[in-house]
């Protein structure tokens, strides 16, 4: 069901009866299946069209290290349950996310335009995000059989290799592609049974938070995806040093930021997956090997013939 000119509700001009104030949405964080404000109480102003002044679109939460900590606690608590959900169920849930996103496509496009994207680019962001979800929903019950192996060995063992989720993964969303890029970086992580803490685009955070609403209404269990808006330079050192984050998918393009993240993560041997420089709207982002990037490989030697 798409809105057309007759069904678009625009309260700001529809003032023929008594003037009505539009109800503006408060953009908040998404932690453990809830939408709290940042514990720090800090905000930054987001201006229309992505500029430094003018009409204020929203006061966006400037998330703190404690918000990140709480997000990791929620993600850790949700991880075993999500990992043990059947592949079919994960697939169904991700497809459901696509359904919900499709129904709100116009809202997402309008939100992206308000943050400065051209209408054509905004539409491409939304349709790519939906298609990406459907694509990886299909991979949920396939990646294990494609990437696992039975290995020939020279002793009397049945030797096989399977994949297991690495655990809690931080996803640093790209600034350039606020919806398609975010979805493309996030979905391969959760389709493999990991739970995620997303640091959203700082310049264009609104579609990330609206995506959290979509996830929330799609049977994605609380805590599987947690989303924080804020200053990446402030948050990334804590992402790197946090002992309970197993991997980081860095999908932005700032080389210095990536180097600093790698340095902070070196102490605790955390895996840092670089996914910068990707054409988020292109087919490259459909690569199923991106699922593999946040999986652990387990090989089992099972004695036979004894």
């Amino acid at each position: 069901m798409k809105p057309d000119t007759d069904t678009i509700v625009d309260t700001s001009t529809d003032t023929h009866a008594s003037p009505r104030l539009a109800v503006a949405k408060t953009y908040k964080l998404y932690l453990g299946g809830k939408f709290p404000r940042t514990e720090s109480g800090r905000y930054y102003k987001l201006f229309s069209g992505g500029g430094d002044s003018g009409e204020v679109l929203a006061n966006v939460c400037l998330g703190s290290r404690k918000d990140f900590r709480n997000a990791v606690v929620a993600a850790r608590a949700a991880q075993p349950g999500w990992a043990s959900a059947s592949a079919f169920l994960k697939s169904q849930i991700l497809y459901r996310v696509a359904e919900m996103l499709e129904g709100r496509a116009s809202q997402f496009a309008a939100e992206l335009v308000s943050m400065g994207l051209e209408p054509e680019a905004a539409r491409a962001e939304v349709t790519t995000a939906i298609d990406r979800l459907v694509h990886f929903a299909g991979w949920a019950d396939k990646y294990q059989q494609v990437f696992s192996a039975v290995n020939p060995v020279a002793s009397s063992h049945f030797n096989f290799t399977i994949l297991e989720p690495t655990g809690v993964v931080a996803v640093i969303a790209p600034e350039a592609s606020p919806l398609a890029g975010l979805v493309s970086a996030l979905v391969p992580v959760i389709v493999g049974g990991n739970t995620a803490v997303v640091i959203a685009s700082h310049a264009r955070p609104l579609s990330a938070i609206t995506l959290a609403e979509v996830l929330h209404t799609s049977d994605v269990p609380g805590g599987v995806v947690n989303l924080i808006t804020g200053d990446k330079a402030e948050l990334l050192p804590h992402v790197g040093t946090h002992m309970d984050v197993n991997a980081v998918v860095y999908a932005d393009d700032d080389r210095d930021q990536l180097a600093a993240l790698r340095e902070a993560a070196a102490d605790n041997l955390k895996r840092v997956v670089q996914r910068g420089g990707v054409d988020w709207l292109g087919d490259d982002a459909n690569d199923p090997y991106t699922i593999l990037a946040t999986q652990e490989v387990k090989t089992t030697w099972h004695p036979i013939g004894v």
Partner: protein, 306 residues
Amino acid sequence: MPMPETVSIPPSPPVDQVGIHERAARFASRSIKKEAKVQALKLTLSMIDLTTLTGADSPGKVKQLCTKAKHLADPDLPGCDDLPHVAAVCVYPTMVPVAKKELDGTGIHLAAVATGFPTGQYPLPVRLEDTRRAVEAGADEIDMVISRGRFLAGDLNYVFDEIAQTKEACGEAHLKVILETGELSTYDNVRRASDLAMHAGADFIKTSTGTVSPAATPEVTLVMLQAIADFHRATGKVIGMKPAGGIKTSKQAIHYLVMLRETLGQQWLHPDRFRFGASSLANDVLMQIVKQASGNYQSGDYFSLD
């Protein structure tokens, strides 16, 4: 026919439920940071009764728990070079000999639950024998349960007598009286049971067995702390307090310490006068201590299993 002699202890004052809730909520809003936090965390460790109370307890499990009681964390970890040991290890009577062997000479107390834990629904002679055997086997602290059924039926004499007789059976061992507040329905009942236990000879009063929900809550603990304060004022006797069950995080534990300090004063901030009955609390406290010293958030993966 002679009437049974009634317990002649002073009447207990009524408990202001709304006031208790408001006051307990205030303690949770205190902010304890930096050096004060580290001190509170170490004090918490020294007050823990490390507990295992399941049907599946085996000598191996108890040995492991005792080892943990003696060596809480790797001393090479940041901030862990001068950790206190826990106050006690708390086990079922059959496991006392195993724990006794492990804890001899360490200064760690050995507590045994007795008197037909956790329900107390056994004949009194059996429950007293249970106590005597636990003490003979080497327990120097006994955690008894009261007959909640008798208490709720109004048979206070019976409850008074069973506590007094258990105290006698304890000999030199300290007696902690578990009220099982989750089954007592009202704060007035909790207050009455606390007064009863203290007059009957309890050394400690304890909230819960850990098998009934709700277990320890800040509210019920506050009611009991106030009973202890009034008893101390009236008789000069010092009674200890032990909340048990459901205290899992450092933050909760620190809130309890704040409540203790502000209700009973500085001299109660000691393992001889306050205990936490907990199993998973210790690891969370250790993670917070390492976090304070290293600046990095910690993961449960790097601390011993309980």
